[in-house]
Symmetry: C2
Subunit: 458 residues, 2 copies
């Protein structure tokens, strides 16, 4: 069997400081241009030159206000604040590319499924089937309060709500319009055929919907579904719904274990083990030689902000690290925390966390020559069963340019990275099959069937 090809997303966010904090102060870093359209269209074209499978856009509603009990450092170092809407970047980037996929984070907790379904269908149309959705429910208290809630909804309860939300979306995306509903027949004056467009009637615990999906069938119907949950409940959700899962990682053994859990979750839901592609976040610093890469790393560190890194960490875990001594280990556990982060870093001292969060943060950091970086990437893939990476930015767009000019050719020369895009939708490119959800996926069960739809003209 041929060795597995590496899948690759750029990992980014519509903000200044994303993962590798403080580098916005580097003279060559352009992340402070994030409010400008050209910053994003240039990036999209760059990534397409590098044959990236996708651009994965993170998002957060709310602010990081745990560290020092406020947002002072968050503002100074621009730690994911300000942060603009990621969905609105996609149409402009789609307009200047032909193949690049877009995995966009959207929080389902604060938007009715009916309008969200239309938003994603619109993107799937405009991108010609290149859109994915990273499903999140949010965990920040500050977001819940901004939305008028007293407090954040409890973790597992959010997943129950998400399960129902997805069910409503499948009904709208998969079940409302039959494949041959749209004729666009000018002679017979039939744009869409009555009887082939069905009213969705949903009455559940969280949602109630009675209406026709507003968009006609888009190339993928359901966008490619991304998810990042690592808790038991999160994995149950992933097994049912996710097609791509995004994980953090510290070492091969832990990642191997997590990959296995993700695959087991798919199998438990009646899907093939490889129905889910697993991506790990990673930061790469590469140069023509190892020495040059080490120098670059040292130079980047001059601008990095380890303190901003642990301020971010403080909100992810709910633990204010400002109150900790340098050699005090992190053992506290909060209710509303990102479980994978807690899992990876429990027992670490603040000193070690500061070092880790200077560059890399919750994801591994690979430094070296093109061959060395390729070795490390392929070892991750081959030793853990991973499918690919979400590549963070360090100094941007420099770090993507370096990767594309140096690592991509190295991976290609080893036969481990594509040398051209395939035609077709994002789902087709990722899985080599059709554009639609596969038969075994939970969403496929909602394709126009008598029991969950009703003729429009009755």
């Amino acid at each position: 069997m041929a060795a597995k090809q590496v899948l690759l997303n750029a990992f980014n966010m519509n903000c200044v400081g994303h993962i590798n904090h403080g580098l916005w102060t580097h003279p060559r870093d352009r992340s402070t241009d994030f409010n400008q359209l050209a910053y994003w269209t240039d990036l999209a074209q760059l990534l397409e030159r590098g044959l990236f499978d996708g651009l994965f856009l993170a998002d957060i509603l709310g602010v990081y206000d745990v560290y020092q009990g406020g947002i002072d450092l968050t503002l100074k170092e621009s730690i994911q604040l300000p942060v603009n809407d990621p969905l609105l970047l996609v149409p402009a980037m789609a307009g200047v590319t032909r193949h690049l996929g877009f995995g966009v984070t959207a929080n389902l907790s604060y938007e009715p499924p009916f309008t969200f379904a239309r938003r994603m269908s619109t993107l799937d149309h405009l991108t010609n089937g290149r859109v994915g959705w990273n499903i999140v429910t949010g965990y920040l208290e500050s977001a819940a309060k901004a939305m008028g809630l007293e407090r954040q909804v409890e973790h597992d309860r959010r997943y129950d709500q998400a399960d129902e939300y997805l069910e409503v979306l499948y009904k709208l995306w998969e079940g409302s319009w039959e494949d041959d509903a749209v004729l666009a027949d000018r002679q017979r004056r039939i744009y869409a055929q009555p009887g082939k467009v069905h009213k969705v009637r949903h009455q559940g615990e969280f949602y109630r919907v009675e209406g026709y999906h507003l968009s006609q069938p888009s190339p993928q119907r359901t966008p490619v579904l991304y998810q990042a949950g690592s808790s038991e409940r999160g994995l149950l959700f992933a097994g049912r719904h996710a097609e791509c899962v995004f994980i953090g990682g510290s070492d091969h053994a832990a990642v191997r274990a997590q990959v296995d859990k993700v695959r087991a979750s798919a199998v438990a839901a009646g899907r093939p083990a490889d129905a889910i592609k697993v991506f790990m976040g990673i930061s790469v610093i590469v140069a023509p030689t190892e020495a040059q890469a080490r120098d670059k790393h040292a130079e980047y560190l001059l601008y990095a902000s380890p303190e901003a890194g642990i301020a971010h960490f403080s909100s992810s875990t709910g633990i204010d690290l400002a109150a900790f001594g340098l050699d005090e280990p992190i053992v506290e556990r909060k209710t509303n925390a990102i479980e994978s982060v807690v899992k990876t870093f429990t027992g670490w001292t603040k000193r070690r966390l500061l070092q880790q969060h200077a560059l890399g943060g919750r994801y591994p950091l690979a430094i070296g020559s093109p061959a060395q970086v390729a070795d490390q990437l392929l070892a991750w893939i081959d030793e853990t069963g991973l499918d690919g990476f979400n590549l963070t930015r360090t100094v941007t767009p420099e770090s993507y340019v370096d990767f594309i000019d140096l690592v991509v050719p190295e991976l290609q020369s080893r036969g481990r990275y594509k040398t051209a895009y395939e035609e077709g939708t994002l789902r087709h490119k990722l899985f080599g099959q059709g554009s639609r959800l596969p038969r075994e996926h939970a969403g496929a069960a909602w394709r126009a069937q008598p029991e969950n739809t009703r003729r429009s003209n009755l």
Copy 2:
């Protein structure tokens, strides 16, 4: 005083059949390409060539299901169904233009103000200050049911909610970040200054928000505010909030009266009478000679669908015209109806409505040579006090091309239309002043002041 220059928006919608129904069947009509990005980027470039002030994008949540008690004709003639999200068109169009403004309809009833505020700020950033928002609250029963409500909220109550929604938005857009909050100072490592970003605390009848606006100040902060209410309560709302008001129209006297009411509403709210620009919808069929224009009109009529026109009318008024005899006048009045449409057409017979809705619908239809059309447009402006037009499409993009090639030069030769864009934001272009809300506008009162904000670090 120099005669008033004509302001001009293209009036469009992310769907096939918008106002002049049935013309999608015309061999040269391209509206069935609305799912494709290039359809919109081509249109934006065309409109910028014609120096249009803006593209006004209508929207509807829900379907037209009153006529014949269902959506059969709605589907066959594609009467605003399918209809995709309009906001997502803007970034792509902004990427291929430099001056064109975008007035986008968004229904406030089903989205929390906190996330909507970020969406619009993101658009204002990406367009470099070219975005406007057409404020609607929705009126369709079918939309309310799709959103999980038992029934549509009562008309005046929706405006009460809208007033509070706007108050929350002003607090976020105008009050959360001070003008000099963002320094982006790499040397001092200060992206934004603590103490200059304020938490909004709102507790009202409909909304409760406690949080920082997520976007840094955009060029216009508050997008240019469009509105189309013509009821007494709607005019009260317009007087407080609207900067551009969009009206229908049948004759000079009725339009003059409506324009006067709009201006009076501004004055009643303590604003100058010309603080609101008033636009009327209009359809234009123009050709080099009058005879050719009449021929074109006759040819278009071969493809028009008067029945689709009155099906649309039926949902706008809540009256199923399928049940009416040809000579029966419309006198019924429904609770959830578009008041301006009811007002204009009460007493008309179905026969006359069918004729009117073949082409033009609820807006006047101007047919003729370039000089004749210019005469008509200028008569509307000069006789009624209107500021400009929302130009519907007939056969698209042909009708915009005709207008730009034939009518624009005629208006320019009379000194009544700009010959080049001014630099600056949409608000600056429309009002010739700054980019921000003027001092007298209700929203300006919410600029960072001690009583409605609080230092982030207290």
